[in-house]
């Protein structure tokens, strides 16, 4: 099994959903494809999508909703 991670491109506050009422973008066990959004990062009054660059299944979510993340920090672990 190869393990891949999705990283936050920017520092900021991480959100798992597009709005407080929406379902999370992804949950453990979901299959993602390149370009799929897995979260949002809020910085400087803007929101940026965190996207997967790989194909895989969500194995673990490494940060909680509204956690502070740094640029390049792993936020999701994928497995094949």
């Amino acid at each position: 099994m190869t393990e891949k991670t999705i990283k936050s491109p920017y520092p900021g506050i991480f959100y798992r959903r597009s709005s407080p009422d929406a379902d999370p973008y992804v949950a453990e066990g979901d299959r993602v494809s390149p370009g799929d959004t897995v979260g949002l990062v809020e910085i400087m009054k803007n929101f940026y999508e965190v996207k997967s660059e790989e194909e895989g299944v969500v194995d673990a979510l490494l940060v909680q909703n509204e956690d502070l993340v740094e640029a390049g920090q792993d936020v999701v672990v994928l497995r094949d």
Partner: protein, 327 residues
């Protein structure tokens, strides 16, 4: 063909700025704009062989790529970040000669610091607006079309004047970056005993303040704090004791909006109805451009006007050719 630089990736906010920006326009509703960190900005220009005032790029965080349309000397200063020209590394606080057609890439900075300045020999030749080339983001004017740069934008460059030789800004002349910052400020114009208590002022200058994620060129938000206040309310200006009748704001004011202190940045509002408990002095103002809005903390150090002037002279003395060596 005229000299130019093309934006390949604009990043979260890359703007054209000049120093000291659009001064003398407060009465017309213009904060000065200009670089949020004037120290690194001026250093980047000196490294590129430009006057410190020349128009150059302010890159927020990184994640930016440019292509040079002409041979030029490129100087970079500010937050630690991996910068390359056609794959070859340029250390921050250095400059290199780059060939026409070469690509300059700035990776996302892991800090410390938050902004990287790119000086290009000849300067960025955007039109002057009221005497300045600086981008005023709040007014959407100046710079290149009054906005942050995007892929496909092509900026004209001025004519080179220097010898183009690669330089290094001496380590001894560089500022210190960290995640805990001490920023020099003076009290007022709205401090104790009229608006805040003396204990409030001691808290303002005594505690460390976390930098909020929603900080930008308009202002650096700190954390909410329940001050004691010297008054019960704002009188005819409003119900909250932070309210005052509208008055002009100084650049670098620590503006207390309700319970929330905000340091007003170069693109801030020129006037409003909240108190300004303290004001960051010019020699400390550059630091607000390097505050990383994810966990950095600020303490204000109170200085007198005499100290503020001395500090600014010392800073000016570090921003001269004497601080450069051959790289």
């Amino acid at each position: 063909m005229p000299r130019s630089v093309e934006i390949l990736v604009g990043g979260i906010q890359t703007t054209v700025q000049d120093y000291p920006g659009r001064r003398g326009m407060l009465a017309k509703g213009f904060f000065p704009a200009g670089p949020m960190d004037h120290f690194a900005f001026r250093a980047a220009n000196l490294l590129a062989g430009n006057p410190e005032s020349a128009a150059a790029l302010e890159v927020t965080l990184g994640g930016v790529a440019l292509r040079l349309g002409a041979e030029a000397t490129v100087g970079v200063a500010g937050a630690e970040a991996e910068v390359t020209v056609d794959g070859e590394r340029i250390p921050i606080w250095e400059s290199r000669r780059a060939a026409a057609g070469s690509e300059l890439r700035i990776a996302v900075s892991q800090g410390p610091g938050f902004r990287i300045y790119v000086g290009v020999s000849g300067g960025i030749d955007v039109p002057l607006l009221f005497g300045s080339r600086a981008t005023y983001t709040m007014g959407a004017l100046g710079g290149f079309e009054g906005r942050a740069l995007e892929a496909g934008d092509r900026l004209a460059l001025g004519e080179e004047a220097g010898d183009g030789a690669p330089k290094r800004f001496k380590v001894s002349a560089r500022p210190q970056y960290g995640r805990e910052w001490e920023i020099e400020a003076m009290r007022g114009p709205h401090a104790a005993p009229d608006f805040l208590t003396e204990e409030d002022m001691q808290t303002l200058f005594g505690r460390a303040w976390s930098v909020d994620r929603n900080s930008n060129r308009t202002g650096v938000r700190l954390e909410s704090h329940l001050f004691q206040w010297a008054r019960k309310g704002g009188g005819i200006a409003g119900g909250h004791p932070s309210n005052i009748l509208d008055n002009s704001y100084p650049v670098g004011a620590v503006n207390v909006n309700g319970d929330l202190p905000v340091i007003l940045g170069p693109d801030g509002p020129t006037a409003g109805g909240f108190i300004c408990a303290a004001t960051v002095v010019h020699a400390g103002f550059w630091k607000i451009g390097q505050l990383r809005p994810v966990g950095d903390r600020v303490r204000f150090r109170e200085v007198t006007v005499e100290e503020a002037i001395t500090l600014d002279r010392e800073l000016d003395e570090r921003l001269t050719e004497a601080s450069l060596e051959n790289a």
